[in-house]
Amino acid sequence: MVEKESSVKGLGPGFWPFTGLLTLLAIANIYFWAVTPLSRWMPTAVTVATQIDELFRVFLAVGIALFIYILGYAIFFSIVFRARKDDPPDALGVQIHDNHKLELWWTVLPTIAVILISWASVRVWFPIQIASASTPAGLVVESIGHQWFYTFRYPGINGEVTGNMHLPVGEPVTLNVSSEDVIHSFWVPAMRLKQDMVPGLINVMRFTTDRVGRYRIICTEFCGVEHGVMNKQYLVIEPKAQFDAWYHGWQVKNATASNALPQISSAPIDLSDGSAAAGQVLFSQKCSACHAIAPFSKRIVGPGLKGVLHDPAHPNLLSGKPATPANVAEILQHGLQGSYGQMPTQVQNALTDKDIANLVAYLNTLK
């Protein structure tokens, strides 16, 4: 049977010229993505969008080049090595099983490629998701998802802002997103950023506005029958003067609005008659998703709270103040943007002053 096996000279007819052709196509593709910004199809509204676009272009250049080779060789080998009419009916292909050198190459090269794309990704990921948390928060805005619209909260504006979301150009922004019903998503394609709005959870987006314009805000998590039209509101990035005028307009409008949200009073809470038993129940409902009754280092989201008021190793709270009942109450009242994440405020957590007194009493019993 051996004589019916094919034998192939070198790598087969036309292999190198065809490889040359594929390489030219691959290089042309890489060149195209090297010189073509994606803002040609989609504007960039914030500074990180440009960095994310660069990563997109790396993936497009490498991915399409790889696909050119895969498609090219699949078609080329299919044509060159097709069975022909004048072949004996039991003709065989070349009987090779493997080639350790080749297999080593195509394990090592993709591994190197994976290391490179990992590096390229981490380089963009780190500033957006990690380093930005320790830069100044800038303008802190909240957006709440509803079925099927967004509302916004600005510092200094009473209650909620409806309609479009306005931001001044050239400023760092911290956008806290959450939801009051089901999961929504806050996506501005021109920002290349998106966070899900999860009820009971505050997700943070940080960016610096970069370009004046009106950009659509789109929901990408299915949220009910009108999900498809939850794209009618805009992010308006405008010069500071225009933003200030808009901001002032809402301040005036909401000052008299009857539907304004309850405001957190700045007065300290009376902690004198807190009930530890009631606090324990509350803790399991409101706190235990993020805090364990365990030593400080046992984090869920926030630190473990066992002995929070009696731990000599941690005399200070994450707010930097000494661990006293009054300072714990302050965090419960006003929330905290700590390095571990966002501690919600009294209003977000729906805690009454009495609830806070009870919680502090309970925490004080943990030793």
């Binding site: 989609m42 699949a74 065989l92 990921w125 394609p189 299915f222």
Partner: protein, 559 residues
């Protein structure tokens, strides 16, 4: 125990049971892995037609930017049931239940799977679960997609609870099948068939089985919790009562990412059988392909949270999931390069099975490449929840899994039925399908990038042109599948007799008559090597009587 093959002194006793005679025992409540495989195949194809029709409702709705073909709510029900049915009632049962059941024991030289009764029970859960899922339309079908994220799924009508029960049931079926296959492959190989002599399709099933066994239990837990919350108000997921919506996402994706590999690994195995057979040369890099299947299966357990980059994971948690996901590119790349090199130097016969296999390699590769965009956190922040994701997983699940199912069907149909498929219709099927498929799903990549979110019944008019291209292409794809079913029906009646080995293939199932006897092998063969050395004599002994009039093995006494 029905058809037990027990190891006796290094060999396997020629121990068989009498063939059941009544129609019910033979074809309905059968315990024969070949009949069960075909039952899975037929049931799976029926659900493919139903879920495919739902897909056409989706595409017809999206012909116009403002919809109008069905109501928004109906549209949401339709795509939710479409996705659920395609995953749990079509691809998973066809990959494991149908092809795994029919082919794997034959390739092992076994007389049946390890637990034939369990196999029958697994099968019968599947059509019942399918009927339950489709019956949810009568009571308000689920609307929150196949992922059913709470709290949205807590608002769904009664059909959502039915969905939980249906998927729970089909999940149990899948878990039991995984267990059954695992034991079969580890304990019932013919003498001489060491692990490294197993055909690659068996390797693929061996890598899939633990995924079905372990991951599906996490899904079962999630479904039970969702059901209890919906029916009895036990607050697992509702944040207003102290539940966590993200808990569901973790449990769901802890299953559903491995499930992606349950849906694709068996196709890898099929392709690894079909390419060498029609290129008339050994598979290139047998050990690398086998090993990479196992690597992918293991790594598949450690990447689930890459579906949750925008959900509100702690940011530092994104890093390991991103990097581990990238790592999967290496074994996947090894497979694709090995398959393409298998074509090199071959004598390639372009049967329909081979066309689908080559098409699989190319389209799956594209689905893999777009996976990189979604695995990287910064680009996923833009692409998550858009049509880019829809494009990506349809390239993997249709360009990959479904093309694999077609390839495997054209390849093994002669063994199942004893007749050949019509090759002309098969080639029309292939080319129309590939054209329609790419027309439907390729534009979704840029639609997603430019701002079209998924799961919308209406959309921005700027996207209407490409959506119309997609809808028209999807009709072409559906027509191609219609040709496929016509081909099956015609070939079953009028197809040329196949004979035992029409493709001159070398795995064990092709060395016995088509369709095989009830007992599979007259004598259990002994295996001396890999099945891919086309220039060598077959590496089996003990098959001399298979194609002769030698008497069938005598059934042992009833147990």
């Amino acid at each position: 125990m029905a058809v037990a093959a027990t190891h006796v002194g290094g060999g396997i006793a020629d121990h068989v049971h009498p063939e059941p005679q009544g129609f019910i025992r033979r074809y309905v409540f059968s315990i024969d892995h070949k009949i069960i495989g075909i039952q899975y195949l037929i049931t799976g194809f029926i659900f493919l037609v139903l879920a495919g029709l739902l897909a056409e409702v989706i595409r017809t709705q999206l012909m116009n930017a403002n919809g109008g073909f069905v109501s928004n709510n109906t549209y949401n029900e339709v795509y939710s049931v479409h996705g659920s049915a395609m995953v749990w009632l079509v691809v998973i049962p066809l990959m494991t239940g149908a092809f795994g059941n029919f082919v794997m024991p034959l390739q092992l030289g076994a007389r049946d799977v390890a637990f034939p009764w369990l196999n029958m029970i697994s099968f019968w859960m599947f059509p019942v679960a399918g009927l339950m899922l489709f019956s949810s339309f009568l009571m308000g079908a689920p609307v929150a997609g196949w992922t059913e994220y709470p709290p949205m799924s807590l608002q769904g009508e009664a059909g959502t609870s039915m969905w939980c029960a249906a998927i729970f049931l089909v999940g149990i079926s899948s878990t039991l099948t995984g267990m059954n296959f695992m034991v079969t492959i580890l304990k019932m190989r013919a003498p001489g068939m060491t692990l490294t002599r197993m055909p690659l399709f068996v390797w693929a099933q061996l890598a899939t089985a633990p995924l079905s066994m372990v991951a599906t239990t996490a899904l079962a837990g999630a479904l039970a919790a969702l059901f209890m919350e919906r029916q009895f108000g036990v607050p697992f997921f509702d944040p207003t009562k102290g539940g966590s919506p993200l808990l569901w996402q973790h449990m769901f994706w802890f299953y559903s990412h491995p499930a992606v590999y349950i849906m694709i690994l068996p196709a890898f195995g099929m392709i690894s059988e079909i390419l060498p057979t029609f290129a008339r040369k050994p598979i290139f890099g047998y050990k690398m392909i086998a090993f990479s299947s196992v690597t992918i299966a293991l790594a598949g357990f450690m990447v689930w949270a890459h579906h949750m980059f925008t959900s509100g994971l702690a940011p530092f948690m994104q890093l390991p999931f991103m990097l581990l996901t990238f790592v999967i590119a290496v074994p996947t790349g090894v497979k694709i390069f090995s398959w393409i090199t298998t074509l090199w130097g071959g004598k390639i016969h372009f049967t329909s099975a081979m066309l689908f296999a080559i098409g699989f390699v190319v389209l799956f590769a594209l689905g893999g490449i777009t996976g990189i965009f979604l695995a990287s956190v910064p680009t996923d922040l833009h692409l998550h929840g858009t049509y880019f994701v829809v494009a990506h997983f349809h390239y993997v699940l249709v360009g990959g899994s479904l093309m694999g199912i077609f390839a495997g069907f054209y390849y093994w149909f002669p063994k199942m039925s004893g007749r050949m498929m019509n090759e002309t219709l098969g080639k029309w099927h292939f080319w129309l399908f590939v054209a329609g498929f790419n027309g439907t799903f390729l534009p979704m990549h840029w639609l997603g990038f430019e701002g079209m979110p998924r799961r919308v019944a209406v959309y921005d008019p700027q996207f209407q042109f490409w959506n119309r291209v997609e809808s028209v292409s999807s009709y072409v794809m559906t027509f191609a599948i219609l040709l496929f079913f016509v081909n099956i029906l015609v070939s079953l009646r009028r197809g040329k007799k196949a004979g035992p080995n029409p493709w001159k293939a070398r795995t064990l199932e092709w060395q016995i008559p088509s369709p095989p006897h009830y007992y599979n092998f007259k004598h259990v063969p002994t295996v001396y090597g890999l099945p891919y050395d086309f220039s060598e004599p077959l590496p089996y002994r003990g098959l001399e009587d298979e194609l002769t009039d030698a008497p069938a093995p005598v059934p042992a006494g009833a147990h």
